[in-house]
Symmetry: C2
Subunit: 187 residues, 2 copies
């Protein structure tokens, strides 16, 4: 029976991120990651199907948080207000992960295959968000527009946030971007 | 020296679309496509690197048209007005391709790998659009927001357009979606 290793997944993620950053994503093997975390390859594969998935292991948590916040927004919140509640929850989750997010973004920016995987993640967020808004009673068209807009605001604000030194700035950047879009469309 | 074959690329696209639709994308080979078009595999590979690229051969034309229309929008048009000019040009190009677009969309919807390729195409349109808006003097933030919004409006309106019987409806659907987003954000 495999021995239980406390926080093995977190250790593997931390080791992988450090290695990807230092020696490049392509040059890093699963064996390198496991060894650097003081674990076996076998333990690695209990948590991740491949090295790419280490970088996307937070995607499910992000989607659950986003969909949960959309669902639990006040009953009288329209699609855009619900999306803003979802983005606030996401911003809060990310605040404590600023250093990690910066390094991860740098790794992804250097690798087209990872950029594609990131696009798929964003599209899933938009699609799951639209479904959650429909569940709240929004019409499909408004739900799709609001969810897509929210995901694009998230993505653009994320790109700004990681260039800034204040981890708590993400929420403000999201609101600024939404206000900017609102003004652009109104003018 | 290879013999010049008139409209070989168009014939190959037409044959490929028909075969993908009839027997499935996965089940169709390059040999099938060439044979159905009355051409050789060698001719196929003069035009396309693989069968997937047959479905994306219009991507460059679309991007050139979009970027061209953004660039040539009136000097006093803001980023969103320029984006609408770009979308109008795109809608006009698509109008005569309604039947083709419907079948292509059906093929793509059935294949996750093609959906990923489509996401990449959309992201490139957004990125090229943002650069064109910056060239016109828009600040990078407004350029990115307007271009991303335009591409999402295009994509959502496209999905509606192919369910409708009027090929000329694309432009109207785009404007309706933009108006709906404007109202959602203003409320």
């Amino acid at each position: 029976m495999p021995r239980w290793t406390p926080h093995a997944d977190e250790r593997l993620i931390k080791a992988a991120i450090a290695l990807f950053d230092q020696q490049g994503y392509e040059a890093t093997t699963v064996a390198d990651i496991a060894s650097s975390a003081g674990l076996t390859k076998r333990t690695f594969f209990r948590y991740f199907s491949d090295k790419r998935e280490v970088l996307f292991s937070g995607a499910q948590e992000l989607e659950l948080l986003w969909v949960g916040a959309l669902t639990e927004a006040p009953d009288d919140a329209g699609p855009v207000a619900a999306v803003m509640a979802g983005l606030d929850a996401v911003a809060e989750m990310f605040t404590e992960r600023h250093a990690f997010a910066r390094i991860r973004a740098r790794i992804i920016a250097a690798n087209p295959e990872l950029q594609e995987r990131e696009l798929i993640k964003l599209e899933r967020l938009a699609s799951a968000g639209a479904s959650a808004l429909e569940q709240r009673g929004a019409n499909p068209s408004a739900a799709a527009l609001a969810a897509q807009t929210g995901v694009r605001i998230f993505h653009l604000s994320f790109a700004r946030w990681i260039t800034q030194d204040d981890p708590a700035a993400f929420r403000r950047l999201i609101h600024e971007a939404m206000d900017e879009l609102r003004e652009l469309l109104a003018s």
